[in-house]
Symmetry: C2
Subunit: 772 residues, 2 copies
């Protein structure tokens, strides 16, 4: 079958083959002189109800684990044939693309109206199948605070996706990561609504660029509408509603992205919002998303989320009822990777005028996306282009550069940088010392633990094999098995005289069954405890007990609670999150000072698993204050904890020092904007990058309590020792506003404006300004 | 001063003295032939704006710590003179009442229209000043599941309050305790909306009974509108809104209490709801509380909550602005125990028609409450009645009985009951072994650690001094000081051969400065960790390491997380909450089997500080399920935890066993009710009480996700060994309903009905019934 397909497709490796449908519609024949909408309308008018409903689903797993066609393929595609996904991450792009192309071609040829699939995949670290460049996860990339660099990464991902025929990605996620127990934080851009919105904007702008023919390069899906404050940290758990809470917290990134871009689609969350499942939440999808936020694109389910109405939420009496509720609420496409799908049951309701109208509207959106993205003209991947594009040198460089700027230095008592030259030895210790930890949506080429350059392997490359040892010390999660040997690690640390521990939680491809039992992070997981799984804390304590100089490297798509005895004894700490395939190399560059750390936390590190939420932009009344005369700094007992944390959003260290001057804020009444001017100077002895951060708070906010402060601008600047630069920020009044009952409002009057290197009070300088 | 007041008030010790105002209003003269409202209206028409605004505040602390008059008294009463509170709990009723009466009398005589104070106090465990009976806290009392007994307690509290001239209490709290970190859970009736509503209903019905003259005995205040899901567990922190979430969770007790009673007043919470501070939340107070819930009574602030708009939430520009916002939103009375109050500033706005109208409406409500409660006729306490009433034998008996039924047996491997007769020795161990832990609103007579019968002193009474030792072992919170001597406790346990440890968190009067530094529970506290403060866990582990049979008694107004090694090794566990002054006696009776335990948890015990919320009525989608093939039962990693907890709401053991038969459920279509019938049998060898609990779930709930199950009825029955009883429950359809967008809705169709002894699946038997 594979060979037959390959030969049948030989012609398809040449570019520009036109597969435009030969249907009778005049507008379709006219090609580019018609708009995508006109062409979609013309095609729609010829379709049967079965064909229409077919477009509302797809074959999410076209392949099996062994690069053969999914045995259910023919059955599924009879009723679900709008889009396709590749299937398991174990498959390698170069192995499967000829077969995938054959199926794409077959679909064009065999469907009555020659409607091609559009290929839709997740895209977090890059490709969802093996063989592409594996970039850092979103939480890591947001820590770079480097939007131009991020734009480069998105371009690279876009080109790799395009090269395998992906025209539509299930990204960017715009969830606000305020619940540190949530297992999918690694996929998100952190806890701040403005920062998420900016990364989201750049992502959509870049992915959805037009090509030379005017086609959308890759359509985007903003998601998961709406989520972030997951009850208990659980992926499908409820999210409380409240129109002000939604607009001022969870919806902020959506508002920003929809004001600045036009994402092709949106995915609903698994959550209930105000007890109503999002897959049947007409209020949220019509009144809020369509009417208030003006979203024009296609609304899709999350995987299984329509059947969940029946099987999990029990708000529907059958699969068919679930489908009707979802359709009526506004869902237009179903993601159904394995279970019986719901939307094909709609066929029995097409005599219902409302249903028929909604189906037409949904299919029109789908066809518009297909026409707009050029998939009618080019439904296949060009394998020559793919071979040149995947893992292109420029992409690998971007992944390296992003890894360097994504890893946050959280503590350094002066031990670092560690000299690259010399004879000093390093003991690499810990269960993450010789594996990669890329994230649960990263392709298996790196979620295979033996792939790529681990910390240990990178260290060997940098220092030579004689100067580096690796001792696992303990398993990631198992507290009992024979892989735990803390005494060996203690010996290694003492012998080397310098220990580098890499500890954390594992998030890798769910299909990598060799590592799956060791996972505690990523989708399907919530962190009931924010410390280290297994015996990792015991391992750390044992190394710290030796007194050997020790660097702790954290890994995982989550913040960690670090014990006081760790914080006081360890000499240096990095957090590497899920850093992509060059994490090991980047860590060695950062440890040795070849690269100066420049990343900042985008999620605050809680002080205790029970002292959450820990986000920096809490409300004044969230901090009751403590019984001061008894030495209690806040209400949080025991232990006695402050509401602010020592390592909050925006915090991160460098090997050099910067001075950010007290800002000057000027109101431009005519432009309705505030201009904030500051000068940043590298006051140390090394070249480095600093993230200049601007926060604000209206002095009084009548009608709505406002957080203690909020980020409104940031800029990353690189400075040589002694060099200084003026940095100006133009902030329209509206960016200082709030939403009161879904209406944007900017308060006039006094504002506090802070500028500095983190959200910590001691890292900020304040100026007041009065909006008039 | 005190002596002068005493002699001036000698006449006031006789009952029925009529202090009716001699003002000119005809209706006032006509006395009882006019309604309270008519009399209030008549009086209002004669008042100046200053007098009106004076009624909207009061002197919350009429006394100082040393039983003298508050030095600020005269200043405060010039502008705030509607109501009064006694002040510090350190004062004893019998010492201060003559002085208090003198001030009450003086107010009647000196005010131009002879308007008396009304005395308003907190009332959680009973009186807020010393000298009364100290009952268990609400969390303990709710664990009795015994509404008739609770009614008796409320009657006793009412008579004690009345005897000192209290005509208005700041109870009952109706907050839903779903956030186990919240420090005030001890004041609440647990996590279930129906149970809270029933305790609230009985409380209001009983307190507000009419006396022989038709006067309301004691006016009630339902509070804190609305709260329970405190962000981070903090008292003043935000509460998310969402109309469905509010109506189906937080508002449920309010809906029930307002359908069945007419509480005189309501106190707002400190929270923001949907980011709007409750003291200025017009939507919640007018649209929801007044219009949807039909509340007719007076709306008051919480202490400081109006100034907080300016000083904390920063939603007001000044105290005056805060007062105007609060008034406009619906607040009608201010509680201002110490700070500059806000409402007196309203005097500058009385030319504003709306302000004037709102002030009139507020003062009318206040005067109505005063007339309805008879305070015009009897503004003073009758000291003879007081002497007979406080700590009357019947009240002490009720406090004892409630303590017995409030303490939950959570584990018993057969060690208990412990024989009262014999020569066996007991080692009482732990920092709570010889003190009381009554709650932060309990009077100082028991919050004085040396007052009453502690566990140790009760044990000595029961077993004799030769059979009992007490060893503190460790301090409550301090990990360093000399009071820690775990080895002494180990020795004591070994010598006795039987250990009873009493461990937990301290919640006592905030003014007991000898114990205050040891507090971690009650108002002003949130539990970042749900384990034991100080070295208590170390003490427990050391005792368990000895292998000596051990009983663990928990104390504190909170659930505790118990470590697996504790659960597996300890022989028996009780939770005594904040059990009132007879906790020690009751514990000995329960330990020895003189009383058979019959209490049930009303708040679920979480398995980990990070595995919250733990309430039994979570949503199906709150439990994503885990990766079954890897052995993960739920999303909560690490540790690997189930969503349901082993000790949930409704769970509690007995020394006998009961069988509750599979229920028969019959639909009475005509009455629109379901009748559930079961038979409960004592299958053991001891007399005991069982709480028969009825839970339900509609099979499908279109439009709204419904919890996995919900309590709808309960009844506590006492049975001799072998005895059985039929128990029937009549459940109107409406009690099986939900609220969708603020409209009550009962789904027709299939329901699951469970009957059993707890909310645990293994303790329930199910039947299906179809509503038509």
């Amino acid at each position: 079958m594979l060979n037959a397909a390959l030969s049948a497709l030989a012609f398809a490796t040449a570019a520009s083959t036109d597969f435009t449908s030969s249907s009778s519609s005049s507008c379709q024949h006219r090609g580019k002189s018609c708009t995508a909408q006109q062409r979609a309308q013309a095609l729609l008018s010829q379709m049967t109800w079965e064909e229409k409903i077919g477009q509302m689903g797809g074959v999410r797993r076209i392949l099996s684990l062994d690069s053969t066609i999914n045995p259910n393929y023919e059955t599924i595609k009879k009723t679900q044939n709008g889009q396709m996904g590749f299937g398991p991450m174990f498959n390698w792009a170069k192995d499967i693309m000829p077969l995938v192309n054959s199926l794409r071609l077959e679909q064009v040829n065999s469907s009555r109206l020659h409607i091609p699939y559009i290929t839709v995949t997740d895209s977090i670290n890059g490709l969802l199948i093996s063989g592409g460049t594996v970039f850092p996860s979103n939480l890591a990339m947001s820590s770079s605070f480097n939007l131009p660099l991020f734009k480069g990464v998105v371009e690279a991902i876009r080109e790799e996706q395009l090269s395998i025929g992906v025209k539509w990605v299930l990204s960017p996620p715009l969830d606000v990561a305020r619940e540190p127990r949530y297992g999918r934080i690694g996929e998100l851009f952190g806890e701040d609504g403005y920062l998420i919105g900016e990364f989201g904007r750049v992502y959509v702008e870049t992915m959805e660029e037009k090509d030379e023919n005017g086609y959308t390069k890759v359509a985007c899906t903003i998601k998961h509408f709406v989520y972030g404050d997951a009850r208990g940290g659980v992926n499908t758990a409820c999210q409380y509603g409240g129109i002000n809470h939604l607009f001022n917290d969870q919806l902020r990134p959506y508002i920003h992205v929809l004001e600045t871009t036009s994402p092709a689609s949106l995915m609903v969350s698994y959550a209930t919002v105000d007890l109503v499942p999002m897959s049947a939440n007409e209020y949220m999808l019509q009144d809020i998303l369509r009417d208030k936020l003006g979203f024009k694109g296609l609304i899709m389910s999350d995987a299984f989320s329509i059947p969940n109405l029946y099987t999990q939420s029990k708000t529907a009496t059958s699969l068919e009822d679930a489908a009707l509720q979802a359709l009526n609420a506004g869902l237009q496409m179903e993601l159904a990777p394995g279970n019986p799908p719901a939307f094909p049951t709609l066929i029995s309701s097409i005599n219902d005028t409302r249903v028929a109208k909604l189906i037409d509207a949904a299919v029109l959106k789908m066809l518009e996306i297909k026409y707009a993205s050029g998939v009618f003209e080019q439904p296949l991947a060009n394998l020559n282009v793919m071979n040149k594009t995947l893992r292109a040198a420029a992409h690998l460089d971007l992944a390296r550069q992003m890894a360097r700027e994504s890893i946050v230095l959280l503590k350094n008592d002066g031990l670092l940088p560690y000299p690259l030259k010399g004879t000093g030895k390093l003991a690499i210790i810990g269960p993450f010392g010789d594996i990669l930890n890329p994230g649960s949506y990263a392709a298996v080429n790196v979620s295979n633990a033996r792939y790529g350059s681990s910390l240990y392997r990178s260290a060997v490359s940098a220092f030579g094999v004689d100067r580096v040892t690796f001792t696992q010390g303990c398993d990631i999660v198992d507290t009992t098995n024979a892989t735990n040997s803390i005494p060996d690690a203690v010996t290694a640390a003492k012998e080397a005289g310098f220990a580098v521990l890499m500890l954390g939680s594992l998030s890798d491809a769910p299909e990598d069954m060799t590592m799956a039992p060791k996972r505690t992070d990523g989708e399907f997981f919530a962190h009931a405890d924010l410390g280290f799984p297994g015996l990792q804390q015991e391992l750390l304590d044992a190394i710290l007990d030796t007194g050997v100089p020790t660097v702790l490297i954290l890994t995982g798509g989550q913040p960690f609670v670090l014990q006081q005895s760790t914080l006081s004894r360890v000499n240096a700490i990095f957090h590497s999150f899920l850093g992509g395939e060059f994490t090991g190399d980047a860590l060695i560059e950062l440890l040795t000072g070849r690269v100066n750390p420049s990343a900042k936390l985008t999620i605050s590190m809680p002080q205790h698993t029970g002292a959450i939420p820990a986000m920096y932009d809490y409300l004044p009344s969230d901090d009751q204050g403590g019984w001061a005369s008894l030495g209690y700094q806040s209400a949080w007992q025991f232990p006695n904890l402050t509401r602010t944390v020592p390592m909050p959003f925006g915090f991160g260290l460098s090997y050099t020092t910067f001075d950010i001057s007290t800002p000057i804020a000027t109101v431009q009444e005519k432009n309705k904007a505030v201009v904030v001017a500051t000068t940043v100077r590298n006051t140390g002895t090394r070249k480095g990058k600093e993230v200049v951060q601007v926060y604000f708070r209206p002095a009084t906010t009548r009608g709505l309590e406002f957080p203690v402060k909020r980020l409104v601008r940031f800029e990353k600047v690189e400075l040589a020792p002694g060099e200084s630069r003026d940095v100006n920020f133009n902030i329209p009044y509206k960016d200082l506003g709030v939403w009161i009952n879904a209406k944007p409002t900017t308060f006039m009057g006094l504002y506090n404006i802070w500028v500095g290197s983190s959200s910590r009070e001691e890292d900020l300088r304040m100026v007041n300004v009065t909006l008039v």
